[in-house]
Symmetry: C2
Subunit: 310 residues, 2 copies
Amino acid sequence: LQLLDVPVPIPAANDVLIKVQYAGICNTDIEITKGYMSGFHGIPGHEFIGHVVHATQSSLIGKRVTSEINCYCGTCSYCKNALQRHCPHRTVLGIDKRNGTFAEYVSVPYNTLIEIPSQIPDTTAIFIEPLAAALEILEQIVIRASDSVLLIGDGKLAQLIGLVLQSTQCKLTVLGKHPEKIAVFTNQGIKAVSNDITLSERFDIVVEASGSPDAFIKGLSYVRPRGTVVLKSTYAGTFDFNPVSIVINEITLIGSRCGNLNDAIRFLLKTDLDLSFLISEIIPFERALDAFKKSQEKGVMKIVLSMEAV
Amino acid sequence: LQLLDVPVPIPAANDVLIKVQYAGICNTDIEITKGYMSGFHGIPGHEFIGHVVHATQSSLIGKRVTSEINCYCGTCSYCKNALQRHCPHRTVLGIDKRNGTFAEYVSVPYNTLIEIPSQIPDTTAIFIEPLAAALEILEQIVIRASDSVLLIGDGKLAQLIGLVLQSTQCKLTVLGKHPEKIAVFTNQGIKAVSNDITLSERFDIVVEASGSPDAFIKGLSYVRPRGTVVLKSTYAGTFDFNPVSIVINEITLIGSRCGNLNDAIRFLLKTDLDLSFLISEIIPFERALDAFKKSQEKGVMKIVLSMEAV
């Protein structure tokens, strides 16, 4: 990871150029610096807000926007079936074959651009992308108020998932690791306990968002027969595994990745949530390398880079 | 594994006593002899047909029957929600806390007894239990005629799964290992190819029934984004695994175990299938130890023990 002077990108034919205002550091960004996307070399970053500075449609200039992170072809069978996020020809902002948002300027395709309604403050809007990833769970499975749900994890994404699960009025329990992060859940009215505790209950649904293979194994032991485990974490490297309990207990395991950013905007408008409590610090862009270090410190939640003074 | 003289079981209050006629050797039986159910000591065997010789209801005497293998409590929340096969208090015929059917006589609870309609010949009826396990897939997921489905495996259970999948009129491909077993599929009008071949297609649904962890990993690589992998195999021991493709491609992985025996009977009555082509040999019970060896030989399908001469 280096901070470099690079030219302002020249937008492709159907792209718009955005001046980045804020960009959040996500665990995926940290994993990328460790080689998670081995083929990727370029500018990371995919959670952001900014303002359009160049576009073919002049009405867009000056708009406060963010962007879907999956940039798709629009013509394949996935795109035609509303599965653009799985387009096999996709590039992914700051993750795969496309420069990202840890920069003063970023170029994104016009068809992925999303205008942010004025009711949503900047310090909440910065969470639109990870909130969409949390909401993706509700697009994949039905969660009823009568369901008992266990969420494993207490990090940035887990906190957003907690809010999304809470909105279903399900019977929610969170297993966290760090006392200060468990307290963040508790402050939101969510029942959260230390993962030192052994639970006697078996849950209808378990969501693993801790990023630990041990938690994945634990999650499988905490779900009831015929229950569902939602996997939001990716892990670096392999681990020892035997899926026998998945078969004997007829568990459904569902992988869950990115969501629809418009769903996140609708959720924020409906709930009027202020997510700024999840920001640990806003750090000027010239201190980006420090910000990356800080975001990996114990107890730190979202670190946001500010390009405003640049 | 030993052949021993043991007393005829004395049926418990709500049990019936059955004189076993035929009992099929299943891969689970072989795994049990290798320690798969480490807590189990007793008589294995769970695929069988026989005749009632003792019952409180005298009308049952002489009936040709088989039995559900999961013997349940009938009062817990699983039993009350039609999930008796997941009753946490269950015993399982020849697998867990209950003697099985590799014996002249077996005692089973009255409420698990199933009478076999006269239209179904003995050499087809012996497959009712594994056929129910194959049909369990259709209870768990919807398979449309438009779905492309890959079945991995060519053994006894895989052959039954092939027939079940074929009945949905889906676009079915089988990946097999042994030429003679691939030919069994082909004889049934099912497209089957050697697993040496690399397929370029990605499938809507993949069913892993080969019993090989490598096939599990391969199955994950052959399913399309947002597709479904049904896991019918259990594996001895752990293996190296990283679920990252499950997350990135948002795969649904579903474990699938036993099915409802009445569903299998309805399926046989509707399709009029003769399953005797899956029997490699019927071996007298006194040669049971040879039969176990034989059932593990290359190219051998179902070995059935006959207790008729005993």
